[in-house]
């Protein structure tokens, strides 16, 4: 029987959740025995090559590309898991959410105290660039999410235990210490 297939991505996140995934230490060798990675920064596969069993999403959606990737994951993954504060609650990127996007862009590119090099006074508008969303959306406000693993980052043990339980179909035991929002 073929191994379950795992895909991961980081949207509007800092890759801290992926770091935490690596933080399972030598269990990473067990993980490779247990699953096969598909689209993921871990193996650097850029596009889905097959339907996956589990997708791990780090980060919320702050731009159009995030939305496309998230929807692509929903399409290609049977189970989708939000990994970490940003995916679940928007996290630090969402601290801009109370402020209208126009104001954010103006301050970031035109009027902010650290703006010195933008001599042409433009807000980046190359058609190749993703378009900014009006606010940062937690993943569940765009597609259906099956499980949530909170934390900033989620503790390595939490990620490991969850993956093992899902793959093996066993009960999950989550001690109090592993579910944290920071």
């Amino acid at each position: 029987m073929s191994k379950p297939v795992l895909a991961t991505t980081s949207l509007a996140g800092c890759f801290g959740c992926h770091m935490s995934l690596l933080d399972i230490d030598d269990r990473i060798l067990d993980l490779i025995e247990l699953v096969e990675f598909n689209k993921s920064p871990i193996d650097d596969i850029k596009t889905f090559t097959k339907q996956c069993d589990i997708g791990l999403i780090e980060g919320g959606c702050c731009n159009s590309e995030n939305v496309h990737v998230l929807k692509d994951f929903r399409k290609h993954c049977n189970i989708l898991i939000s990994l970490g504060e940003c995916a679940i609650m928007g996290g630090l990127p969402a601290m801009r959410n109370g402020i209208p996007i126009k104001e954010c862009l103006r301050e970031a590119y035109l009027t902010g105290p650290s703006v010195t090099a933008n001599t042409e006074h433009i807000i980046p508008n190359d058609p190749e660039l993703p378009m900014m969303l009006d606010k940062v959306y937690p993943c569940q406000e765009i597609v259906k999410i099956d499980y949530y693993l909170p934390g900033c980052p989620p503790r390595a043990d939490l990620i490991w235990e969850t993956l093992v339980a899902l793959i093996k179909g066993t009960e999950i035991n989550l001690p109090y210490e592993v579910i944290k929002f920071d």
Binding site: G90, G98, I145, Y176
Partner: protein, 232 residues
Amino acid sequence: MSEKINFIIDGKECQSEEGKYLVDAAKENGIYIPTLCNYEGLKPKGSCRICTVKINGRFATACTSPVHDGMNIENETEELKDMRKQIIELLFVSGNHFCPACEKSGNCELQALAYRFKMMAPRFPFAFPNKEIDASHPKIIKDQNRCILCKRCIRGIKDEEGKSYFAYQNRGKDSLVVVDRKLAAEMTAEKAQQAMDICPVGSIIVREKGWDTPIGDRKYDKAPIGSDIENN
């Protein structure tokens, strides 16, 4: 002199003094009823509703209900637990609670309750309201993003004449807890610390105060809120 009375919580026989608030009477009996707006020594307000129990079949807040002989109280039912969890989720989505960026993280009662009730993600959509950070006072910062409007500061932080440093403003969804400019200008460092301590979340922060306890050593890092009562 208060007389001893008997009452039942979730089938367990309990004893306390007539007229004591149910939250405290339960505590004496090793039973934790979750609270948020309640604070020892302050007149209870019953505004967060999280301590809601059923007394003889009717909803009531345990922080404001005096206990009487023969009361039958439901506390840990699935219905009540889910309602409490909903309240925590409501408070999360209606404010901007970015735990990783908050000085109170690990010592925050809202967060601790979310851990206790295993809130993995709120069931409600986030409002992401536009709230202000009032940093105009010499001793404290009032961050409205994190305020859960429990009124602990309003009730607890007063000057010698009994005037409140904090007050409620507006109503309904636009409600805010604001600071009295004149009184805050005279606020002592000690009072400022009291205000920060009385705040269950990170909405009142003493100026120039950052994170001071390592992760792992904070109040709610290792054991759930309320477990000290239950293990007593």
